[in-house]
Symmetry: C2
Subunit: 665 residues, 2 copies
């Protein structure tokens, strides 16, 4: 097709395609197939529907766009560049996938303004989209007034076959259907090709019917390669259905335009090569050199700058009006957007004295959550169907449900992985909402890919994990974490905190709430734990501290969580034998490692080499704290099914054994 | 209802219910609700349909039963006891959830003969069921003859709302529909109650429609509490549809029979208490004391013993005939069932010499898999849509597909978690099949819950994980493992092996294939690696070994995988400077820890305290090997998107840096 006969729209679409083709070719690495096939839907969406301000990527009321099929990131970089985001210049596209570029191999919100969430691991993005839409629905219900709308945006997601095969997407989409999130619109790039070839070899289900079963509004664009009008009409129809999310299946051809590679898995994840690119230029009628965008094409895309500025200006006016009419709500709203926490919020944290009742930390967690609920109104969250076991309900609020989006208790169902990914979306809505989510600690395994993405994408999610050791008892080894805490400590940029009692629980939340770019995972006990002499809210932020000490101590007992009281009891006995003992509570490795050398030395002096660590978990990584002359009481295999007390005894978590092992040093 | 008017069937069902009620009450812990509601479907299934031999739980051709809703394990223990399994005596039921009992809090195949797979973590069991059905379909296609059927059993699964909410079940069920596994029959205990209350709060999708979308045959029994005939007819109908798996939605009442607690979440996971139990006895007309089973009820259940013996005898005859007519096939079949590997299978492992071409270990893995494919005919497996990147296709076989079940290449689609759980099912079919599965190493996170269950349930699955470090390059931090190897080393009973070259790859498979009760996870490189002087197939089984040494060495460089060659290159340079250096290749911690003290000392002598570990991953756990005077070149945060060579350089994985850090010791 000669370029002269092409509509400007087609040229715009080809501009996206060739930025992708040429950037991948220059990098000799990347995924051209999806951008080539999905460019038409993306263009229609960004050109006709998406509201955003390229010059202020964080404008609150923008529509959110998520490329769940993150490998096709050149699609997103092309759109960002063409519509005028400063984060992606043409040089950045030429530097695609190179050291230090803003155009990494998969979209990363922390590298590239304009990218909302980090995608690539398949299925995550659509779940993030559910979270973004939940955040919007919640804020709209809380802040909008009949005469003044502050919160009103859509969440658009492009997802592929891979996303739809991943179970995590099913979890979140089932919940999205249940919740009736009408402003979530997913475009399914139905190109029937995955890496191993045709989806015929493993994925022949009826995806549309499945989404209907979830309660979604489902549409189909049969020719997603050429029928721009059908794409636009489908998005319009989607917007009209306000009580259901919409899935638009858009049938496309992967690598559209490549004469020899279109509709094959060969075009999915590799550069096309010079010869095929030449043929593709010919076939698509694109006569421009790599990275050259004709003026009229650029002008069309750059309309977004003015449109965006005026959309934001209009919204700013609405905000000004809102501020006048609803000063209190406006103050809260603007404080939340600013990312500032309420003044003195931490004063709400419960405190405990040594005489107080022994309580499970999952219950002191409940008390803390409920104390924070009024003090930190941006806190929203819930459990994967274990609200009563994880103790995560905020009593001052009802359930976030269709018709009750203003409520703050989220009901995730038995969907741990989707829950984590949804919370990432809520956190990265960047409207100040602080999401928490909960399950049994051992089921962190189910949601680990989402936890990793919280850490990588700087989403300050709170993970409230209860039943944190073999001491949970009868449920047995399938439910007993032994390696779980260690495996979570392995994740960079994640605080893993195992509080010893009520004060440390408050301390854990104090860190977690304040920590907006590092997620926090808190491990709470099922069993009751005493309120400890010497425990401290503020010391938790230091990761480890001396909770009990003798002058001239030459032995350190180091415990975490439920084992701190055991260490303290053992210390008493050792002291009765004339020993001089220090007990260190070490709720969080990562925070301790962040302290200066002097503080670390003050807690764990090099000179005291007799050290016994007591933790009801595996030994891995503790060596650096107990050292060459130290020892640890740890669990070396899986747990067992029996009452918790019996298990702790059988596994050596007794005062007698701690004393014996300490004396053996 | 007075007992006199009750049918024997109803009494049998009540016997199951009260064993569950009374065992949970005695333990003051457990889940009575599901057994009370699902007892009718379970009774009909075990009484009229299931073929099994209580006196030989491992009889090969038995129907497989999986309680995917594993918390309802008292249902399964009651059935095992009543039908005459020796593993569950009445004393064992009285010891439910106690230390050392065969009746742990969730069903565990390694504790209780008659339990096929370990369930409890929701959604896993139905996926295991898909694996069991795939194993049956595969063996039937390979071994059955027109005149002689050896392999012919059903796989029955009871799953609940929780299982159906978990994404992992969707993954496996979509694949089961695609594969048309006609002998998989799932009974969905539709009791519309989960722990947090009615499923109305989070799970309102149309499950039947979703399974239809997957390509399943779907039926509905509206009154699963009373209509035994409808249950039986549904199972009959399910058996008649041979080209699709069947999902029978059986609508039931959780805690059926409890006047005050039925149909509430209160009966899900707690003992009913004496008063409510008395009322339930009255309401169900059960006049027997706890743990007392009337003779006629017992006699009815125990018919299973004779039926089972005669079913097995009949099958033994078929096997005898088969042996005569098809001696070669019978020999293979019986060898597989025995769990013996073929004689001299390890001779097929490829060997490499230092002069040989540098190849990525994912490619030496491919060569090994293909060398083993003919030598180990029980090897079956595949990738989660990354066959060409993970290099996991066996060239001598086609794809396991509907109409081609005899083939050994499995096509899992982008379904890592379901893949792992399916492989657990294949392994625990206990027919000698050795399953492997593959994805990028970082996506071990997606399937971690299944990997943990491989380890816990002693399923000797091979995990073939490629792209094992930041060196994979451009795909960036979402795809780059940094903490992944460490987090996997944390799992008990799992060999994590990171081979350095072709010989070590063969060595890894040599361990993995032979290791039928410990799963093995192998981490392979994307990038080419040289064939190393001194590398050894057999030494891999020792976990670590001296690959290069100087007499009088006072410095040890310890590497794994791709960093071993770096250590060897650095050693050369250090030697040129006059240093005496030992290089240790340490592909597997767990195997090294299993060696005797003398061997360990011979590799890492205590006297040599200058030790530098080089691994492209986090430091966690390495301290015990490099010690107080040693050091490590590790990765402390997430990776980056750039060409792999550049990344390795930026992160300090260069000869210069290894030399400098070694000299600094």
């Amino acid at each position: 097709m000669a370029v002269a006969t092409q509509s400007l729209e087609t040229q715009c679409i080809n501009a996206i395609r060739f930025l992708a083709i040429d950037a991948v070719e220059k990098a000799k690495s990347g995924h051209p197939g999806l951008p080539m096939g999905a460019a038409p839907m993306a263009f229609v969406l960004w050109d006709q529907f998406m509201r955003f301000n390229p010059k202020n990527p964080q404008w609150f009321n923008r529509d959110r766009f998520v490329l769940s099929a993150g490998h096709g990131c050149m699609l997103q970089y092309a759109l960002l560049h063409l519509t005028g985001y400063d984060s992606v210049k043409i040089e950045d596209i030429k530097n695609f996938r190179q050291w230090g570029a803003t155009t990494p191999g998969h979209p990363e919100n922390f590298e590239t303004p304009g990218v909302e969430v980090t995608t690539g691991p398949l299925g995550q993005g659509i779940c993030n989209g559910v979270g973004l839409a939940m955040a919007e629905a919640h804020l709209a219900a809380r802040f909008n007034k009949p005469d003044c709308t502050l919160v009103d945006h859509y969440t658009y997601v492009i997802l592929g076959d891979g996303c739809n095969m991943e179970g995590v997407s099913g979890e979140a989409c089932s919940l999205a259907g249940h919740l009736g999130l009408g402003k979530l619109i997913a475009l399914y790039d139905d190109n029937h090709i995955s890496i191993d070839g045709s989806t015929d070899i493993s994925f022949t289900e009826d995806v549309s019917k499945r989404f209907e079963a979830y309660g979604w509004h489902v549409l189909h664009v049969k020719d997603g390669n050429n029928d721009l009008d059908a794409i636009a009409k489908a998005i319009e129809a989607a917007k009209k259905v306000t009580d259901k999310p919409t899935m638009i299946k858009v049938t496309t051809t992967i690598g559209y335009g490549s004469p020899n590679m279109a509709d094959t898995s060969g075009v999915h994840g590799a550069a096309l090569g010079d010869a095929e690119i030449a043929l593709t230029r010919e076939s698509l009628g694109w006569e421009h050199a790599p990275f050259v965008i004709p003026d009229d094409v650029m002008a069309r895309f750059r309309q977004a700058v003015e449109k965006g500025a005026s959309a934001e200006a209009e919204w700013n006016q609405a905000l000004a009006t809102y501020r006048t009419k609803y000063a209190k709500e406006a103050a809260l709203f603007e404080r939340m957007l600013s990312g500032e926490l309420p003044a003195n919020w931490a004063d709400a944290l419960p405190t405990y004295a040594p005489g107080d009742k022994a309580i499970a930390t999952r219950k002191t967690s409940e008390a803390t959550l409920n104390a924070l609920a009024p003090a930190v109104p941006e806190l929203v969250g819930g459990s994967a169907d274990l609200a009563k076991s994880n103790n995560t309900l905020m009593k001052i609020s009802g359930d976030f449900q269709k018709g009750g989006y203003e409520n703050r208790n989220l009901r995730f169902g038995v969907r741990e992985h989707g829950m984590g990914a949804i919370c990432n979306g809520i956190a990265l809505h960047n409207s100040g909402l602080i999401p928490y989510c909960a399950t049994f600690l051992v089921f962190a395994d189910y949601m680990r890919a989402a936890i990793r993405l919280s850490a990588l994408s700087e989403a300050g999610v709170l993970y409230v994990m209860t039943h944190d050791s073999i001491a949970l008892g009868e449920d047995g080894p399938t439910h007993q974490p032994v390696e779980t805490v260690a495996s979570l400590r392995a994740i960079p940029n994640l605080y893993v905190i195992r509080p010893a009692d009520g004060n440390e629980t408050s301390g854990a939340y104090k860190v977690a709430i304040a920590s907006r770019k590092t997620p926090t995972l808190m491990a709470f006990s099922r069993q009751n734990l005493p309120q400890l002499e010497g425990s401290s809210i503020d010391a938790v932020a230091k990761g480890a501290y001396v909770i009990s000490d003798d002058a001239g101590a030459d032995l350190i007992l180091i415990g975490t969580g439920s084992e701190v009281s055991l260490c303290l009891d053992a210390a008493k006995k050792l002291r009765a034998e004339g020993k001089k003992v220090r007990v260190v509570s070490m709720p969080c490795w990562e925070l301790f490692e962040a302290q200066d050398a002097a503080y670390k030395e003050s807690v764990l002096p090099k000179a005291i080499t007799k050290r016994l660590v007591v933790e009801a978990g595996i030994e891995m990584g503790w060596g650096k704290y107990y050292g060459a002359d130290g020892d640890m009481i740890s669990v070396s295999g899986f747990g067992a099914s029996a009452p918790g007390g019996r298990i702790m005894q059988e596994f050596g978590y007794t005062v007698e054994n701690v004393v014996a092992r300490a004396n053996a040093l």
